[in-house]
Symmetry: C2
Subunit: 300 residues, 2 copies
DNA sequence: CAATTGTTTTTTATAATAATGTACAAATAC
DNA sequence: GTATTTGTACATTATTATAAAAAACAATTG
């Protein structure tokens, strides 16, 4: 019932690897340098040194530290099974919600989620606390958490917010200098859109990826940590919903290609107002699609 | 080393209070109803009933529960000191950051914050996890948390984001129906602005409150959970910075009053484009003020 | 006196656990 | 019979105690 010593174990192996680069009988750097190398505190380094001394790998007396022999593979220490990386928890969580169509107002069990995602309970709680800032989940009065999205209101507000952000981005693109990388990206996107348009009958399902690339290119012009954070969540949600709503997919995608090209046309003409209008039309279509995909699920 | 029984204690006193409303020898409602009344699970209710039986307050056999005597004040159970309410933690935390001018990249000690704000450590961690979504804090590699804001970049991005949201709000106001409450609010705000303008020499410090009211009125037209969440943080930060940056306060506020009135003028004329332009000018001024207030602190 | 080590104090991460919630079976009342 | 209610078993949560790790400080050493 205390914190794990994984840090010590990983640091130990790291220091061992470092010592392998040293010749035998070489002096070992100061505790502070070793701490720097392993990215841990001196406390951990001293534990490492103590063990190395115990194993006869080094001699250690005050500041005299000598490597007695080259470390062997059996000197390494076992590192306990590291739980799943929690950096992509957001992706996996949203994926789970959308893939299994978890309905609005579902109680979320931290214990269960912790098992399915292989992440410690407190990490999950922190993650949920973060999501609650987006209004995606909330605490329940009797304890625990609840999934709030994806109601109709949620989808409408999300779409509206996306619209606000994306129209802003479009305006920025229109004002971007000629040497900005976005122009090359848009030129390539235009070619890819035209290619897909020509092969739409067979390759229409390829559009999802193209759509993501297109919106990413537009939004990458805006350098803003707040907007970027939101865009991540927004694009994920839209992306998945498009992928799974298969009704009239071919027709929908063909129409979206035209809308994208219209936006590119206006942007390359540096006509900010026309670009905003074109983007607005496209985003309205997106909103309708998202809403109809929700209705679909509700009925199913 | 397990959870506290505060819930039981509070429920117990609540049930006791409920029983006081019953005549003596009255039958007591089902466990489920009592659970509903106290807002807890049946498990807690059964603990309450067990204690009440033990004290001779009730008789309890299967579903026959009778009140034997009226509860007295000494029957109540002690509730341990409840820690500070955590609902206003955000307000108090930002207040602390801004009031003490905590510089960017300061390590935050959960233990210390927990003491100063009288909030449990895990609640604080959840709170910080939420703030990290706004890019205000982040986890440090060696554990713990770090305050990221308020660098120049942060202020610029925050201002820009505010601008995006607020211009959107202004557009919405311009399109609001004539019977929307925002029009009455704006009419009143115009009167208050004119009144303050007349007394600016003495009452200029009153502007801070007026500013907050003005922006709140504009933004209240947009009903969007994502935008609302951000607005809370944004307005708090701007509000405090204005309050504490005393350089040329009178002149600054007089200018801002004119800018506000210009926005109101354009809105009441239902001229969306003019309103956007006026708002843009005002927000640019705000941004400059926020940045100069930061520079001030850096030098001080 | 600058760099390093020795020592102490503080903080953090986390597993253990009692409190609480929840689900379901059994019993009761209507 | 069926709708409530209770009894019971099980799952989940909140919270604490605590070892691990970091940080602060004092004492050495070259």
């Amino acid at each position: 019932m205390a914190r794990s010593d994984t840090r010590y174990r990983e640091a130990y192996n790291q220091i061992l690897a470092y010592c392998e680069t040293l010749p035998t009988a070489a002096p070992i750097p100061s505790e502070t340098s070793l701490a720097e190398i392993a990215g841990v505190s001196r406390t951990v380094i001293r534990r490492c040194l103590a063990r190395m001394e115990e194993l006869g790998l080094i001699s250690w007396q005050g500041r005299d530290k000598l490597l007695l022999r080259a470390p062997r593979s059996e000197d390494r220490i076992a590192v306990p099974d590291t739980p799943q990386d929690k950096s992509d928890l957001e992706q996996r969580f949203l994926d789970w919600v959308l893939r299994f169509d978890v309905p609005a107002n579902t109680p979320l069990s931290v214990a269960e989620l912790s098992r399915t995602f292989d992440v410690a309970q407190h990490d999950l709680k922190e993650f949920l606390a973060g999501l609650s800032r987006f209004g995606l989940v909330s605490r329940r009065p009797q304890g625990g958490w609840m999934l709030l999205g994806f109601t109709k209101d949620f989808a409408i507000e999300l779409s509206d917010f996306r619209c606000v952000l994306e129209l802003n981005a479009v305006t920025h693109v229109a004002e971007a200098p000629v040497d900005h990388p976005v122009w090359a990206a848009l030129a390539q996107l235009r070619r890819d859109h035209l290619a897909l348009k020509a092969a739409i009958d067979t390759d229409f399902h390829e559009f999802s990826k193209l759509d993501e690339r297109f919106h990413l290119a537009i939004n990458s012009v805006v350098k803003n940590r707040f907007i970027a954070e939101f865009q991540k969540v927004i694009s994920l949600i839209f992306h998945y919903h498009y992928m799974w709503d298969k009704t009239e997919e071919k027709h929908r995608n063909a129409a979206a290609i035209e809308e994208h090209i219209a936006i590119i046309d206006a942007l390359e003409a540096r006509d900010a107002e026309a670009a905003r209008v074109a983007a607005q039309r496209h985003l309205r279509t997106s909103k309708t699609t998202l809403l109809s995909s929700l209705r679909h699920h509700d009925l199913g």
